[in-house]
């Protein structure tokens, strides 16, 4: 469900003065005094964990999942690609805790490696899409004029596609491989990022201190880098964490429909797609990959929501 809505920015009030302590990546006066535009703030993390315990736990789960994916080759009990036809399609047992698939590969190992692939695809595509969108948004807001006008039309066009349709179209057109799946999902994230970051950047552009900087003769690049960009980090981070869940579901949907990463790569979506090809699917091949998806999406969603509430509650209702 989370994958389809979002990007409909409709601020209920005109934007306020942005809070300068509103980000774990410190911006504003302290940062400039320290000589760098960015600085990680540990006390902020502690305050976050105390005020939002549930999202904090979710954040830890999310981190654990990422860790699981990174350590997959060492953590998984068996080779996820090694077939054993004698032991095919077995329900969970002591040898195979989550059972085996159609050619006898261990499902638990495949789910662990699936975490690696799903995380990799989700993180890469979200980073790629949101960053491209953010850079475009800042440039669009700053330079304005025809560039902005045309750019916003392109964003409209991209937003007119239901995300799964756009991803499916691109993934089929470009052929099935890891990078085309990443590109397809990233393409669906670009437009959402642009909308939100652009309105934030526009708001900052009108600030008095930016006008002052301009009056003092700062070059465009300085203004973008030192003033506008830091204020956009908050929404950018929120966008990324809330988009991760959507990206995981998109990748799973692509895999389920058969347009995802080609075999033998284990992704949660591929496993569901394989399982669903007959009238009565094997229950362990349906339940476990799906549960993995739910846990991952829950964790990322909860963490993202908490982060958004902490950083900037005005973003609520923008990207689910």
């Amino acid at each position: 469900m989370a994958d389809q809505l979002g990007g409909r920015v409709a601020p209920r009030r005109a934007p306020d003065f942005p809070r300068e302590d509103a980000s774990p990546v410190g911006a504003g006066r302290d940062a400039r005094a320290a000589g760098t535009p960015l600085r990680i703030d540990r006390t902020w993390l502690r305050r976050f964990a105390r005020r939002y315990p549930s999202p904090a736990v979710a954040g830890i789960v999310a981190l654990l999942l990422i860790l699981l994916g990174l350590l997959a080759p060492w953590v998984s009990p068996a080779d996820p690609l090694r077939p054993n036809v004698l032991a095919r399609a077995q329900v969970p047992s002591w040898q195979h805790w989550l059972g085996t698939d159609f050619i006898g590969r261990d499902v638990l190992s495949r789910i662990i490696h699936g975490a690696k692939w799903s995380m990799f695809v989700a993180v890469t595509s979200v980073l790629l899409g949101t960053t491209v969108g953010a850079v475009w948004a800042v440039a669009s807001a700053f330079f304005g004029g025809t560039f902005d006008l045309l750019g916003q039309r392109l964003v409209e066009v991209l937003l007119s596609f239901p995300p799964i349709l756009l991803a499916l179209l691109l993934a089929s057109a470009l052929g099935g491989s890891t990078w085309t799946v990443i590109l397809s999902i990233a393409a669906t994230r670009v437009a959402y990022g642009t909308r939100i970051i652009r309105s934030q950047a526009l708001a900052v552009k009108e600030m008095q201190y930016v006008e002052a900087a301009r009056g003092l003769g700062s070059s465009s690049w300085r203004i973008i880098f030192w003033h506008i960009a830091p204020q956009c980090i908050g929404p950018y981070l929120v966008l990324i964490t809330t988009s991760l869940g959507i990206a995981i579901v998109l990748e799973a949907t692509l895999g389920f429909l058969g347009a995802g990463i080609p075999p033998p790569t284990p992704t949660w979506g591929n496993m569901l797609g394989d399982a669903a090809s007959m009238l009565i699917p094997q229950w362990h091949l349906v339940v476990f990959p799906g549960a993995a998806i739910v846990i991952a999406v829950l964790a990322f969603n909860q963490f993202g929501d908490g982060l958004r509430d902490a950083l900037d509650p005005r973003l609520r209702g923008t990207n689910l």
């Binding site: 077939p83 095919r88 329900v91 159609f102 080609p262 075999p263 033998p264 669903a276 009238l279």
Partner: protein, 572 residues
Amino acid sequence: MHRWLSGIAGLVGVVVFLLTIAYGPAGSPTPTALVGMSPAAAQTPTAAPGEPFYLKAIDHDKAKRGGTLRLAAHGPPSMFDIYASGTIANVGAQAPMYDLLVRMDPRDPKLPIIPSLATSWTISADGMTYTFQLRKGVKFHDGTDFTADDVKATFDRIVFPPPGLISLRILPIKETGARDRYTVVMKLSEPRDSYTFLASLAGGWNVITSKKALDKYKGDLRQVDNFPGTGPFMYKTRTTESWEMVRNPNYWNPHVPYVDRIIQVWLKAWTPELAAALLGNQVDWAMWLDPSAYQKVKATANMSGLIWQAPNLAAWIGFNNEREPFNNVRVRRALHLALDQDAIGKIVQQFDPTVQLTDHLPPPYGKGYEDLIKEHPYAAATREKAIAEAKRLMADAGYANGISKTFNFVVRESPQNRQLAAYAQAEWERLLGVKTQLEVVQVSTMVDRQVAGTFDIISHAACLGGADLSATIRSCYSINKATGKKADSNFTNFRNSEFDKVLDRFSVEVDLQRKIQLGRQLNQILNAEVPATALLSSGRAYGWHNYVKGLPTVGGNSDYNTYQWDFVWLDK
């Protein structure tokens, strides 16, 4: 505290729900014994003189009349020129509206030839000329009379398609002539044993249509969904979901058909939707069931199922015999031995219950499953020997440490191909150090790749059979005589001049014993040369409700030959 409790309670509830889902059906069904096409002698009908042969249902005296038969059909067809088609989507859907010249008896698993529009025939001494006597008083659905001219026009369209049109049938006919109004003479271009020739005439695509229609459309029937036929059913309506036909009240066979209407519903093979439609009683009969559906049908009290093996040639993973290192027979043999061939059959059986390990050619030319299984028993000891042999062969060929290049393995999209290719890939890398990269493509891309030869390994390009086995073998493993290039379905680029010579003799051999000898020789050459591996036969898994009567319960329902539905009745 409450927050945690309710959250945990919710999660526990979900987990309990999921875990209480019962275990699914395990194991896979064993296919029934192979029912191949035996080259039996042709049967001249033994009806009393002056009384032509009429097909009737198996228990004709108890048969009820009336009702609507709903069939699951793999379709719809994309165009309606049945002569240009190679798919069941045409022959299944359109056949009830037409008749063949001669026909295979749909009630008998041995598929003897029975009269249809031809009432009797004689064969010349040298076996090169067939004279058919045609049924009198038959009319097409548009009212025109059926005569020898229509037969001639049809077979001219089939054997000598007009320029710009194609025909997929390979019939060894040099000339078809209408001697008089109800006599047709066919001259063969090369010798054939009589059963093979008549069986190929009885192929379901060789429906007889009128000369008038062929002239009117200049042989191009692609957009004509209703070109005239003489068949037991007539066109009623066609929608995006189904095709409806009604009983022909003026059919030349007064005993049939028994049902009033047939509705063919488009449902794709092996899909859950197909199974659901059959089990949910939205169709009465279906084929191409997936294993879990087939098991369910067999386990259901008032339903029946049967498995039939198609006469296709078995080769699911083909090597590009023209590319390094697959041009080296040692490498091909090694790759073949590294795979547990019976295991491969069992993998695919999870998706298609009809699949099993087979030889390159069907029995009697190759070995059947029971004999093969003794050679490749599914036991560790023999596997170890095979793997050792494979490693030795690779070392002989100079690849003791594997091959550094990663090969391109083109895989046709389907659930079974995905699993099969993943298994082959993993075993080849683990055992022989041969690395491949899987590329899953849609059917439409297969043609480009196969024709252009832009692959190292390919699966599953398919080599579909018909009544004339020699034509199939030629198409799969030999050259196109006219162009000298590889034949249409020779997706492995296999070329072997000794094989071609034996094949030439095999095609024209009319003596059964000698034919079997030659066929066995062909099989041995293929086994030695190993142009392809993963030798699996496949067929169809059928299911129907028991109120559909008249269907044979063993074999029968053969390859595209019997779908006129005139011998079936409903006990409702």
